[in-house]
């Protein structure tokens, strides 16, 4: 069953088509990887799905309901949360307060928000850092704070934008473990990632974007064998 459906979505910035006629669906319970060379339109697509940009054409359906045109906070209330590629912690708030602020979306009062936040922090392995002002966190933990904050809104679908970029190997393992645990909780995940090994190992299915268009879609094995995908990546590697 599809939880999220992207139907023929295009997004133009002036004359530039950042996303062109892209369609795919995210099934309930899966991890869908979204990959593509730099500038392929992955983050733009996230911003359209999440409501920061309205689509120029096409529509996005979440749980069968049309959500394109809604504001990000309304989409979040319907059960979709996201993280940002460039982390956006609430800098002058403690780690705990960051998560409390987002837990308030579903919590009816302060004590319930506190409880949800504490539980989420423990889940993300950040409980010992709860009193740290988030400005002072190292990048690896800030990336996890983004995930924790999104989780505290108790989403059905979680959009992760490069949650692994810039992590060292041990942080990487930790974050992969957390993503798997999130999946075990029954939360559907759509993830943008550059780290090929990570995306191949955790995704159930992968969608490849290139120059704003969908190049391929399939299981990691299918994608790994797809000549178009190999060309897109090798072509980029050669020019680099």
């Amino acid at each position: 069953m599809s939880l999220l459906e992207v139907r023929k979505v295009s997004r133009f910035f002036g004359g530039l088509a950042a996303v062109k006629d892209v369609s795919f669906e995210v099934r309930k319970g899966e991890i869908l990887g979204l990959i593509g060379p730099n500038g392929a339109g992955k983050t733009t697509l996230f911003n359209v799905v999440n409501g920061f940009y309205p689509p120029s054409r096409g529509e996005v359906l979440f749980r069968g309901e049309r959500i394109s045109g809604l504001k990000p906070h309304q989409i979040c209330q319907r059960g979709m949360a996201r993280t940002f590629q460039v982390v956006k912690p609430l800098q002058r708030m403690s780690v705990m307060d960051n998560v409390v602020a987002s837990a308030f979306l579903r919590a009816k009062d302060r004590s319930e928000a506190d409880a949800v936040a504490a539980e989420t922090l423990a889940f993300a392995g950040l409980y010992n850092d709860r009193d740290v002002i988030s400005k002072g966190l190292p990048l690896g933990k800030r990336k996890r704070l983004e995930i924790a904050r999104a989780l505290a809104t108790q989403p059905e679908l979680l959009l992760l934008d490069e949650s692994f970029a810039g992590l060292n190997p041990s942080e990487l393992d930790e974050s992969i473990g957390i993503i798997r645990k999130i999946k075990d909780r029954g939360i559907t995940i759509m993830i943008i990632e550059h780290h090929m090994k990570v995306i191949m190992s955790i995704s159930d299915r992968i969608v490849v974007l290139s120059y704003g268009e969908k190049l391929a879609e399939g299981t990691p094995q299918e994608i790994g064998r797809n000549p178009l995908v190999i060309e897109a990546y090798l072509g980029e590697a050669q020019s680099a």
Partner: protein, 313 residues
């Protein structure tokens, strides 16, 4: 200790008039408390929610003129201006928020700056309604003595302090600070940023308007240049909060004491007195460079500084 301090201060303030201070001292005390109220109001919007307003004189003035015009046009007591200003200022803030809150950061600040000036010019020119440059004079003073004025503004201040503290510790407070720190992140966390910014603006405006309505009744005379003043109201409001410490409970209180006393002291110095705005400007620059979080926010820094000096001597 820290939790009981506000109650100790409040108790001391309640007892203050019993000491029989001169009416000059009581006047200064009333001004200090009035500025506490305005500072706390601004702090809610600017300090916690991060929406810096350079036009709080607009709310102060609308509150003041609500009270003044009730007296001059309808012939009722100016004190009705206190409840009436809540309604009038809320409507005014809703309208203003609808226009200005879609702007972010410096653009919001500039828009509020313009609103303050526009309100002054409008009031100056609607002569039939407002009395224009002549202002409004309340002929019958309610009390000659200051004591009751003092208790009324103290009541408003105490209520404001409690209200701000309750708001900041609740969901609203978390949302305000989240919006200040990153509006896009806040929005993606399910926070209706437009709604909560509007709430912050309305509450802040209403409290400022109450201070304005009180001012009319207390001073007995208002004119557009005084109550819609950019430098004497809007800028001083920001200074009260910046000097005391933005986004702290005690900051506006400390800031109000310092700013009102400083203004009185500087004005009484011969020759230099006329340059008090210049001196305020210098003070603001010093604060921004050395104590960016204000006296309360950077209290640890101040203590360290004095500790080190003491050790050296």
């Amino acid at each position: 200790m820290k939790n009981t301090l506000p109650y100790i201060v409040l108790a001391a303030l309640i007892l203050l008039p019993l000491f029989g201070f001169s009416s000059y001292v009581m006047h200064i005390a009333i001004l200090v408390i009035m500025w506490c109220v305005i500072g706390m109001a601004w702090n809610l919007l600017g300090g916690y929610c991060g929406q810096v307003s350079f036009g709080h004189a607009a709310f102060f003035g609308v509150g003041a003129y609500t009270a003044g015009m009730l007296y001059s046009k309808l012939g009722v007591s100016g004190w009705w201006g206190i409840p009436a200003s809540v309604v009038v200022v809320t409507l005014f803030a809703l309208l203003l928020g609808y226009i200005c809150l879609r702007l972010r950061g410096p653009y919001f600040a500039l828009a509020t700056l313009a609103i303050g000036v526009i309100m002054r010019i409008v009031t100056e020119n609607l002569v039939k309604l407002t009395g224009g440059d002549l202002g409004i004079m309340i002929r019958e003073r309610t009390w000659i003595e200051k004591t009751w004025f003092y208790y009324i503004i103290l009541l408003i201040a105490a209520a404001t302090f409690i209200a701000v503290r309750q708001i900041i510790r609740s969901r609203l407070g978390y949302y305000f600070v989240a919006i200040r720190e990153d509006q896009d992140a806040a929005e993606s966390l399910g926070i209706n940023t437009t709604l909560y910014k509007t709430i912050a603006l309305c509450v802040s405006a209403v409290i400022t308007g109450l201070a304005g309505a009180f001012y009319t009744n207390y001073m007995g005379y208002i004119d557009p240049k005084v109550v819609f003043a950019l430098h004497d109201i809007s800028i001083i409001t920001i200074m009260v909060v910046m000097v005391g410490g933005a986004a702290t409970f005690a900051g506006p209180v400390v800031g109000a004491v310092i700013m009102v006393l400083l203004a009185e002291v500087i004005r009484s110095i011969p020759k230099l007195g006329t340059a008090h705005h210049t001196l305020f400007g210098i003070l603001l620059i010093v604060i921004i460079i050395y104590l960016p979080n204000g006296i309360v926010g950077d209290f640890a820094k101040i203590r360290k500084l004095f500790g080190r000096r003491g050790a050296r001597v």
